[in-house]
């Protein structure tokens, strides 16, 4: 059976016909396009590409010995375009090779400006390009959704750990920080703060004014503490401050006294001033779990401060000495 060249060109646009010496006798139009303007007929195939798998091949005999096997080769086209190929005897001592891009088709089409007419209609290359683009579009839609969901999740998480009125941490956040401090065995101090005369201010000036007072107190506490300390609002007019790596009683007492004095300064409202104070109970971590036991000791100290007449701070009872003392 002898085929007219145009039949082979249409069926296999990327074929190459070599004679028994390995000289090109014919090439499909797409293969010619890949190689650019250079003359193909008369060239030896080793000047066009090198076969590197299953092994180096230098002549037609070598090609025929690999008939039926998958060949991997790279074009000498300035880009080292990777191709796979198949070589079969032409029945007259020569070789017909058919070549394909394999999964490199996306890059090859872009690099060589190929069009759909460069591929045989039976070739799946175009369907593969379609699939790559369609899948990328679908993936992008999914990624967009994921980004939005993640943004929403982070916002929800922030809300879940934040007191909406003051922007301070809430009790849930406090529990989480306590768990972390316990896990990392970090020494810390805890202040339990309860506002004095807040109810009177609320009753006298109204709830919106009460909210303003709470915000002002929150600002004072944030101002008085460091960035990595945790200031939480855990009840109507109850706050907790966690101070990491700070267990020096004198420093803590000074800090508590300073905060009480600042809170006692009249807080400006629309047409009046609110006058409140605060009682503070201070406790120190002792490295013994559970970390929440510190809360109980601070609570007891707060009760003691209240019992002594409010507007003052109290250190935890002497029976529970600070760690390391």
């Amino acid at each position: 059976m002898s085929l007219p060249p145009e039949t082979l060109d249409a069926l296999c646009p990327m074929h190459l016909h070599l004679d028994s010496e390995g000289i090109v006798r014919g090439a499909g139009p797409t293969f010619a396009k890949l190689m650019g303007d250079g003359p193909l007929a008369g060239a030896h195939f080793t000047t066009l590409f090198h076969i590197y798998r299953p092994g180096a091949v230098r002549d037609s005999g070598g090609l025929l010995s690999l008939a039926g096997r998958r060949l991997q080769l790279r074009l000498h086209d300035g880009r080292s375009t990777a191709l796979k190929g198949l070589a079969m005897p032409d029945g007259a001592g020569g070789v017909i090779m058919n070549l394909s891009f394999g999964i490199g088709v996306v890059d090859a089409v872009r690099d060589h400006a190929l069009t759909s007419t460069d591929f045989a209609v039976t070739d799946l290359a175009i369907d593969m390009l379609y699939l790559v683009e369609a899948k990328s579009a679908a993936m992008e839609a999914s990624r967009t959704l994921n980004r939005r969901l993640q943004g929403a999740m982070l916002a929800a998480e922030r809300r879940a750990y934040t007191d909406p009125l003051t922007g301070l941490a809430n009790r849930r956040a406090l529990t989480r920080v306590l768990a972390r401090l316990q896990r990392d065995a970090t020494a810390f101090a805890l202040m339990h703060i309860d506002l004095d005369f807040f109810k009177q201010a609320n009753d006298t000036h109204g709830h919106p004014a009460g909210d303003r007072v709470l915000q002002a107190v929150a600002d004072i506490m944030l101002e008085a503490t460091r960035k990595n300390d945790t200031v939480a609002r855990v009840g109507g007019d109850e706050f907790v401050i966690l101070l990491e790596d700070l267990t020096e009683p004198q420093v803590l007492c000074d800090l508590a006294g300073r905060m009480i004095r600042q809170i006692e300064r009249p807080i400006p409202l629309d047409d009046a001033f609110a006058r409140i104070s605060a009682s503070i109970g201070i406790a120190l971590s002792d490295g013994m779990p559970p970390a929440s036991a510190v809360l109980d000791r601070a609570d007891a100290a707060l009760y003691e401060a209240k019992r002594r007449g409010r507007a003052q701070y109290a250190m935890q009872a002497e029976t529970a000495p600070p760690a390391g003392s």
Binding site: Y130, E133, S136, A137, A138, R148
Partner: protein, 206 residues
Amino acid sequence: MHGLIARTLQCFLQDTYGQAAWQDIAGRSGLDLPGFEAMLDYETGLVVRVLSEATALLAKPADTILEDIGTYLITHANNEGLRRLMRYGGVDFIDFLHSLEELPGRARLAVPDLRLPDLELEGHSGRAFCLRCTAPTGEPTGFGHVLVGVLRAMADDYGALVILDHRGAEAGCETVDIVVIQTDFASGRAFELGAPLPVPRASSIP
């Protein structure tokens, strides 16, 4: 109904009539979400309600809105990717028509749960065709009108001159008559197989 379809309706309304119009329509439809997500599923009734509210608010028949959606899908700059995918259908408009029956299958390759209507093309002569569009069970008809918009825009894209006629629906099956007057009436838009390299997009998280 697949979110891609619902999202298309939303993007069309937003891009064509503005964010305020969309919010108005979404509010009247009882859509208590910021909007449709392309990769989630929605109750078909909700999407139909959005379309009928749009019909009322924009004072346009549903058929016209659906056809405009088809045109929007191919011509709007935001949908360049889809136009490219459609151009894979063939080298000229006739070739493209012959590939239409493959469209639902092609769509499923990329998004396996996207159910598009069955398409069946019948050629009367080399240039006259009849396209039958059968909605999946449980889905409303109307896709035929979208298809008319898509075909009109694709004809422009290929530079072909065509006459399209939606002949109505019968038992869930819409019929569109297509006559191709000239395949190279005008110079169409360019289509290169090698897609431009994707531009990295900024994250939408503020």
